[in-house]
């Protein structure tokens, strides 16, 4: 059976964040309850693609019609806490366009939409746990009614691991962005090392593709295989 350790508050965020007003209206006021884990919480859903369809593998346009922005190539790897690849993991990705505008009716930001940009992809990891996506680097945008909070460029990920408790929803950030220093969501991860793991790594440009910057990212889903490692 897959083993799950309790969340570490130094590497995980939760609760009410002073810089993020909505948390005060939505995070439970009562303490969360520790429960015993068993077959119900430590089983599937492994094959969510039985109920979901693949959605695009390229957000940067099609044919000659290219979305505006810096072309990037994301290489994300899904592994468990043992570092073992989660082959076949379903991964959802969404982000805003280069001007900081989402394809979503609830986005009231006045930045322009980009007709050649596709904001959402749903992919399945290969046997090495790898997914690859061509897209454009998202822009930064102001969060309404916050007195100056700008979200740094980021990419949303939703990932399924081996069991129910392995479900991971997170965001990927870009290196060298000054807005990273103040972002209320990134900095809710208190431990600097854990925070730095939320920032993608720019792959060496030598020998890379000529038209895109490659960013590498690792997504670690909860769970270790119960079988002890061979000595």
């Amino acid at each position: 059976m897959i083993a799950i350790e309790r969340r570490d508050p130094r590497t995980q965020s939760q609760g009410v964040e002073p810089g993020y007003a909505q948390t005060d209206r939505r995070w439970p006021a009562q303490p969360l309850i520790r429960r015993p884990l068993g077959a119900s919480e430590l089983s599937g859903p492994i094959e969510v693609m039985r109920r979901l369809q693949p959605v695009r593998g390229d957000l940067a346009g099609h044919g000659a019609k290219r979305a505006i922005g810096q072309l990037i190539h994301l290489r994300a790897r899904v592994v468990d806490e043992d570092g073992a690849p989660v082959a076949g993991a379903a991964v959802e990705i969404w982000h805003c366009n280069a001007a900081g505008k989402y394809i979503h009716p609830n986005d009231t930001h006045e930045a322009p939409p980009d007709p050649n940009f596709y904001g959402a992809a749903r992919l399945v990891a290969d046997r090495d746990g790898l997914i690859e996506l061509r897209t454009i680097k998202p822009g930064a945008y102001p969060v309404p009614d916050t007195g100056g909070w700008w979200r740094p460029p980021h990419v949303h990920f939703s990932v399924w691991g081996r069991v129910w408790l392995s479900r991971l929803v997170t965001q990927m950030f870009f290196p060298g962005e000054p807005l990273n220093e103040k972002d209320a969501i990134l900095n809710a991860i208190r431990e600097p090392e854990a925070r730095s793991r939320c920032i993608a790594r720019l792959a060496p440009t030598e020998g890379g593709p000529e038209n895109a910057l490659v960013y590498d990212y690792q997504l670690v889903v909860r769970g270790r295989n119960g079988t002890p490692a061979m000595p």
Partner: protein, 170 residues
């Protein structure tokens, strides 16, 4: 073997694509075939601290089949729904049987903007003896029990405030 720390979970944010949220809330059909068991609807309203219903909240469930199995190839116990602008979500599913040592239940996670990470809870069908339900203080247990409706069960989720849904930490 060195353990890798799990990635930091973060909020879903307000702009989860509508196309992702649609079309996965019917668990009664698997690979084009009808699953065995009693068909029920589980629906409810999701509200925040001031009682306001919330739009575009993403809910995912995981449950056993009618016999209490989680590995039945003829049933897939996972689904996803999103609330509408009135805060209402709905699943069509099969009433789960009891997994060994447990009372019948449906696991829920709630994903939303303003939640730094997913919230976990579970819906039960009655006040049965169950090791997870028994961890909940007596006066709050009723909040985890679905209310019978003509078509199934109603399970309202209050994130914070009066009648706050009990959530689990694992």
């Amino acid at each position: 073997m060195k353990r890798l720390a799990p990635s930091g979970e973060m909020t879903l944010g307000p702009f989860f694509p509508r196309e992702f949220a649609q079309g996965a809330n019917d668990l009664t059909v698997v690979d084009g075939k009808k699953a065995a068991g009693e068909i029920i609807e589980i629906s409810g309203c999701v509200r925040q601290a001031d009682g306001r219903p919330l739009d575009n909240v993403v809910l995912e469930i995981w449950q056993a089949d009618a016999q209490g199995r989680t590995d039945n190839p003829g049933f897939f116990g996972w689904g996803r729904a999103a609330t509408n602008s009135d805060g209402i979500y709905s699943f069509k599913t099969i009433k789960p049987g009891a997994i060994q040592g447990r009372a019948p239940h449906v696991n829920f996670i709630v994903l939303y903007s303003g939640l730094m990470r997913a919230l976990h809870t579970a819906m039960f069908f009655d006040d049965a003896k169950d090791p997870v339900l028994d961890t909940v203080p007596k006066e709050r247990k009723a909040l985890l029990i679905g209310k019978k409706t003509p078509s199934g069960y109603r399970f309202d989720i209050r994130l914070r405030g009066e009648g706050e849904t009990p959530f689990f930490d694992d």
